[in-house]
Every structure is written in structure tokens, then in C-alpha cells.
Symmetry: C2
Subunit: 121 residues, 2 copies
């Protein structure tokens, strides 16, 4: 569904490759709290369409971050949860959350757009 690079030049590319999807960060943060059903996730991410949500979830699953548990009943019930690999991201996610909260107002404001000029080297 999503082709991963075979070769990475730097380990951080692995993490970013896996976490950089429109909704993946929030999904992973939510799943740190507790397990979620498909519909619950859809409610939390109010503007996501079912197709895209499914895509994001499938990719996270393929990359081993989350698990999908199907309860065979009618109507169907599907629960998403973190795997141990996903849980190991918890600290990282928390730090990203913290940084984001701290700098939310700064991002994209061009607050340092003045050109800095230094003397000769």
C-alpha cells in the first residue's frame, strides 16, 4: 500500500517515514491513552474520511506500530491498539507533543526572517 525505502542514510529517516502521514501522529497519541474502535477514531479526527483513515491505519499496521483486532460479530467491531513497537514510541511522541505545544504560536510566523549578515570569515 505504501512503498518504503530500502535504504536509509540515517536512522531518523525510518521513524519519520513511519510517522509522517496526515493523521498518524494524532492516531498514535490517542492510542497511547487507550484502545480505540474505528468509529471512535473517526469521531476524534472529525474531518477524516473513512478511506483515508483506513489507509493510515493499514500503513501503521504494516509498519508494526499498531494491531487490529476483529471481533466477529454483527455489527462488526474492530479495535486498534498499540503493539510493543508502538509503545516504544511513547516517550518520543510525548516530547514532540511538548515541543509542538511550546512553539505552536511561533511556527510559520517568519518571526526571524531578517537576514543576518556576519563579518568576513
Amino acid at each position: 500500500m505504501k512503498e518504503r525505502k530500502r535504504k536509509y542514510f540515517h536512522p531518523i529517516e525510518v521513524t519519520l517515514d513511519v510517522v509522517c502521514g496526515k493523521w498518524k501522529g494524532v492516531i498514535l497519541c490517542l492510542l497511547q491513552e487507550r484502545d480505540f474502535r474505528f468509529g471512535e477514531l473517526k469521531d476524534q479526527l472529525s474531518s477524516v474520511t473513512p478511506k483515508v483513515l483506513t489507509q493510515q491505519l493499514r500503513e501503521l499496521e504494516e509498519d508494526g506500530l499498531i494491531a487490529r483486532t476483529v471481533y466477529p460479530q454483527v455489527p462488526p467491531k474492530v479495535v486498534y491498539s498499540l503493539t510493543s513497537y508502538g509503545k516504544e514510541l511513547e516517550e518520543t511522541l510525548r516530547m514532540m507533543e511538548k515541543w509542538g505545544r511550546a512553539h505552536q504560536k511561533k511556527v510559520g510566523e517568519n518571526y526571524n526572517k531578517e537576514v543576518s549578515e556576519a563579518g568576513l570569515s
Copy 2:
């Protein structure tokens, strides 16, 4: 150059929005070590084209993560360095690096593709 979302539903989106570019993670990791000139970055990221490298750097600059210092001389010399905001990402980047190194072999291998079925809820 790159439009940022006005509203974020979750703080982690801010961080991901800023860090998710093809070369941004590696660039930020490199700059943790020391300052780099444009050409040095180009050498480290062997397959990047100057246009794309410039784009990535400009966006990081707009978002306040890095600073661009021009030495007015011939031939020109431009040095990129972390701002204090960029430095605050250091711990986060290190953790992403660590997770990536640990799970590089797992990612994209579909190692848990078997369907898990649970009993009735």
C-alpha cells in the same frame, strides 16, 4: 513557500508539520553536531538536488528552526545553524534516531500481517 495549517487539533501536528520533509530530519540531526555550509550539506545528502535542498532549508528557516548566515564575499559562503528553537528539538531527534535504529529491520516487513481474531466482546 509552504503553507502551514492555521489550526491544529493536536500539538504533535505542529512538530510533524515542521519536521516532515524529505530531508529535514537528517538536516536537523546534522546541525545538532555542528554548523554546516550549503555545500557541506549537499555532500552529506548525496542525492539531493540544490533546488530541493534550498527548499527544505528555507522552510526550516521560516519555521524558526535554523538560521542562515551569509558571509558577503566571493565566492559566497553561507552557513546554516540551529536556532534555540531547533536546539530544543535535540532530545526529540535523538529519541527518533534511537527508535529508528532499533526498528529499522522491522519496518515494512509485514512481520505481523496475520489477522488476529478475538473472542466475542
